[in-house]
Amino acid sequence: MQVVQVDVVVIGGGGAGLRAAIAAAESDPRLRIALISKIVPMRSHTVAAEGGAAAVVRPDDSLDSHFEDTVSGGDWLCDQPAVEYFVAHCGPEMIRLEQLGCPWSRKADGNINVRFFGGMKVQRTWFAADRSGFHILHTLFQTSLKYPAIRRFDEFFCAELIVEEGAIRGVLAIEIATGEFFLFECASAVVCTGGAGRVFRQNTNAGTVTGDGMALAFRQGVSLRDMEFVQWHPTALPGTGILITEACRGEGAILVNKDGYRYLQDYGLGPVDPWPRTKAMELGPRDRLSQAFWHELQKGRTVATPRGPVVHLDLRHLGAKKIHERLPLITEIAKTFVGVDAVKEPIPVCPAMHYTMGGILTNVSCETSLRGLFAAGECSSVGIHGANRLGSNSLAELLVFGSAAGTGAAGHAHAVPRRNGTRVRQLAESSAQRLSAMVTATAGERLATLREEMLDSMEAGVGIYRRETTLKAACDRMANLRARYRAGVLLDDRGRAFNTEWLGAIELGFMLEVAESMAHSALGRRESRGAHMRLDGYESRDDENFLKHSLAHFDGDGPPRIDHMPVTITRSPPRSRAYGGAGKKAEMS
């Protein structure tokens, strides 16, 4: 086993990880920072984000307004001090990214432009056409090359956190090209591994989004918070789950059912006119829109296709010029993957799992309960999304909190320097032996068999609408799958060089634990709030009993223990979460 000694390890090279590494390098250029990623950073799933990133910039907007939209969008399950910190730091982060070269879309006068997004009162979404995530990621990656303090370990797979006496001491990783183990001894580490969308079959996520960091921290006793809150994006392509950005609706696209009827007006988002207006109809929040699709499906008003039921996203009235200028990627995707010319035909869409609102519990400074361990981005739960994330808050989040986590981890490395110890190496060696044994196992089930059962069970039991019976079935199935996983996964690939089947098996272990925490957290929440909807007598929000966060605690081979913690409410007391209604017509830019 090779040992690399550094000050700070950043796990994950997506937007949050790159921002964290840059922040750490800027806070002290003498630090040794290892940026470890299982794919080359510019391939990370941030690349697929389309719509944009929120930050107050217009004179008719305010931080209070962004705060209110976020807190009500999250159905009052947000920690309000975290939201306050967040909205205040979004603007500086967007400006900084512009100064680093991000090609934000511009107005004729040369200033940056902003677009409408669901659940936001005012235009505050900074965008780079509909390739916002791509440009953010490449800008950060290319910028990171400037800093000698950042040493990249591309295609290194993090397999274990090495913890001693309640503090992070190291990270065990596999060099994918050779299959060799590396131990990164460190003073602090930042987990930036993204979400866990791949635990559902119909999802918008890249194949790499397997909850790695969540499971790594969870196994070391860090709680996962609010895992039942899973966001379904209302507009993805059927079958593949490829994302069709909310920016389509931000630019004025409409959703119609098989009768050409704008069905959202039947679900508390209407009336239709005047159109467009913010926080109404197609500019409502994602949870409400995905739930409306489910009801249309029950009523038999969706369109059947070989890849499942859909509704139609109609952009035609925007005209070819605006479609090509503002939504070039969507035009390309619709053409390639479903053979639709968005200028001439509506795009078939349906909901797909998109985002993990919950994650590794951190405070506003991105610190976890393990000394020296930080988390930022989708893998974390810093408390800003509550029960439903607003679109364009997540790209902003990974900049704001990636930066905070990187600065925090650098500070921690100064305050509490790395300690060498034989114990750390012993722990790493024993983990490496256990992981190596997976390659040579002679009995067990096929990886795909276990994975497919997990996907089916999560779709059936922990979907847009939930019941105790289906949730319990999912919990039981996850326990069963975990037991079978422990009994063995039989790999075809017995080599060590670039063994993606082996890594897939390790990822499946991560996914099963994360999926199980989602199912149990959902079972424990006997109310409906945001993206968590129950059909079994708990159809309403219940502030008396459930205005609180869920916590899942790792419990070895058994199911996670679930308990709760209070929500921090400082400024905005819970009230009814209203969309639609009267309002004035919005001016489209």
């Binding site: 510019m42 100064q99 070269g101 040369g110 090359l145 591309d154 194949g207 070989p306 060089a497 897939g504």
Partner: protein
């Protein structure tokens, strides 16, 4: 790295199959690459990537390839498909009917395993061209954003669309002959920064352009632009740089440093 079985909602016409021939190589057991053929059932909407995932899930878990976003934006799944560089996720099996389709790793790169190539050379080149803004003077957040008109943005925007998928390197005969050539993707990105109105780093990047293995390494074949999945047109970037390089040369004759 997790992959998915083909969907179960296939229509009755899904009984069609196609032969996929893959180049295989395991450094631990093979002295040179070999071939292996798989018969794969497919539907009209199935990508080549989904065909490979089907093989990995149900026939042979040792078949090795890179993939991630499956929507042609991450740049992971570049391969040679019947001899032409392409992204496996946005190329469809139906277009190779009746088959077979031959899949090989991207040309001109060392093979690590099966369809996985070593990208280290490209990453080093990317780093060498200083792909970040080098501003005339540092700005603080309080200074706000730069002004840049849509017209100024048009000067470089096309060249900022590169997803680093390396198809252009696999298409470039010059890179095949001389691995020192900076190559189309990296030169296009260099051009992207030089053309950005916010950048003042052209002088720092011109030595890379002027070098023998810079823009002048290109022999104007243009296949790079033909295979580019994002219409970046690296050939145009490289050849504009030849003009810039020539100007730079004459300027230095007139006004030596």
């Amino acid at each position: 790295m997790e992959s998915r079985e083909p969907r179960t909602d296939m229509s009755a016409s899904s009984t069609r199959t196609i032969i996929i021939e893959c180049l295989r190589f395991d450094p631990a057991s093979d002295s040179e690459p070999r071939e292996q053929a798989y018969r794969v059932p497919f539907t009209d909407d199935m990508s080549v990537l989904e065909g490979l995932q089907y093989i990995k899930d149900t026939i042979d878990g040792s078949l090795t390839f890179r993939w991630s976003c499956r929507m042609a934006i991450c740049g992971s799944c570049g391969m040679m498909l019947n001899g032409r560089p392409a992204l496996a996720c946005e190329t469809f099996l139906r277009d190779f009917r009746p088959g077979p389709v031959r899949i090989e790793p991207l040309s001109h790169f060392p093979i690590i395993r099966d369809l996985v190539i070593d990208q280290a050379d490209f990453l080093a080149k990317l780093e060498s061209i200083k792909p970040y803004l080098i501003p005339a003077e540092d700005k603080s957040v309080a200074d706000g954003t730069y002004l840049q008109t849509p017209g100024q943005m048009d000067d470089y925007y096309q060249f900022s669309q590169c997803i680093n998928c390396l198809l252009c390197y696999a298409a470039c005969p010059q890179y095949g002959l001389n691995r020192a050539f900076t190559g189309p993707g990296a030169l296009a990105l260099l051009h992207r920064y030089n053309e950005d109105s916010r950048d003042a780093g052209t002088a720092e990047r011109m030595p890379i352009v002027n070098a023998e293995d810079g823009a002048w390494g290109c022999t104007l074949v243009g296949y790079c632009s033909e295979v580019c999945p994002k219409a970046v047109d690296p050939a145009r970037a490289v050849n504009v740089n030849k003009i810039n390089s020539a100007k730079d040369y004459f300027l230095h004759l007139l006004m030596p440093k």
